[in-house]
Subunit: 151 residues, 2 copies
């Protein structure tokens, strides 16, 4: 139940975030912000993946520390996709982000929710549990990239 | 006293961070990571500054939310300055980072400590208190940039 409460809180947080357009002076600032946040998230998520996939030895404490950063970072990038930031920098973002906003938002929220489940899994200290949650989270990344990011 | 306990915990965290050299496959990965983390931190710190300096109306809740992100981000960049990452990407980092590591580490820790004090200040809901703490934190940014970052 605690997981659901957390997810609900995170979704509420997203919903009540300040209007994105007010947060960046220029489109390139928003683009740099979202790319930076996603990049930091990707680094730490990659470290969890390396353990989940047996490429580096599993260390439950290190895994949980990295997941905790992923959870924090996962909340950030979305305001950087504000209307008006379709172009203005070197971006792989597809126009569909802005023409299919409900679908994009759903994928953002799904990813945030999965990272919270990943944190619960990381805290169990069980590698198989972590691996299952990692795969589910990675699937939400891929699903959004496939739909909304150019190669 | 709580502030000091937090600072002590943060410094301990820094001290026990995994060896940086083991965390990035290539120097450019480390450079991108540290730049991304500093960029996200800068965005949120800038929003706090806009309120502290009267450029946007003070909203205690929004200020505290931004400071909370600054606190989390402030812990991250330093492992990205691992030995061997002096070059390998588009970086303004001065060689002194690696030749004067004790001084650089001291500045990192000072900045982390100031962000924690900033969080305490943000929670008071008092703009003057926030402004004082913001200035102190900004001074630690500038001091490190002056010593260790090319223009």
């Amino acid at each position: 139940m605690k997981t659901f409460a957390c997810i609900a809180a995170a979704v509420t947080l997203l919903a009540f975030a300040a209007p994105a357009s007010a947060q960046f002076a220029k489109p390139e600032d928003a683009i740099k912000y979202r790319q930076s946040a996603l990049s930091v998230m990707g680094t730490h998520f990659g470290r969890v993946g390396a353990m989940a996939n047996g490429k580096v030895p599993y260390d439950a404490k290190v895994a949980a520390e990295n997941v905790a950063i992923v959870v924090e970072m996962a909340k950030l990038p979305w305001v950087g996709f504000a209307p008006g930031t379709e172009t203005g920098g070197n971006t792989k973002a597809k126009p569909e982000i802005w023409t299919e906003q409900a679908k994009f938002k759903e994928k953002n929220e799904s990813m945030v929710a999965e990272t919270i489940k990943l944190a619960v899994a990381a805290k169990t200290g069980d590698l198989a549990t972590l691996k299952t949650a990692f795969t589910a989270t990675a699937d939400t990344c891929k699903s959004c990239h496939d739909a909304f990011r150019n190669k």
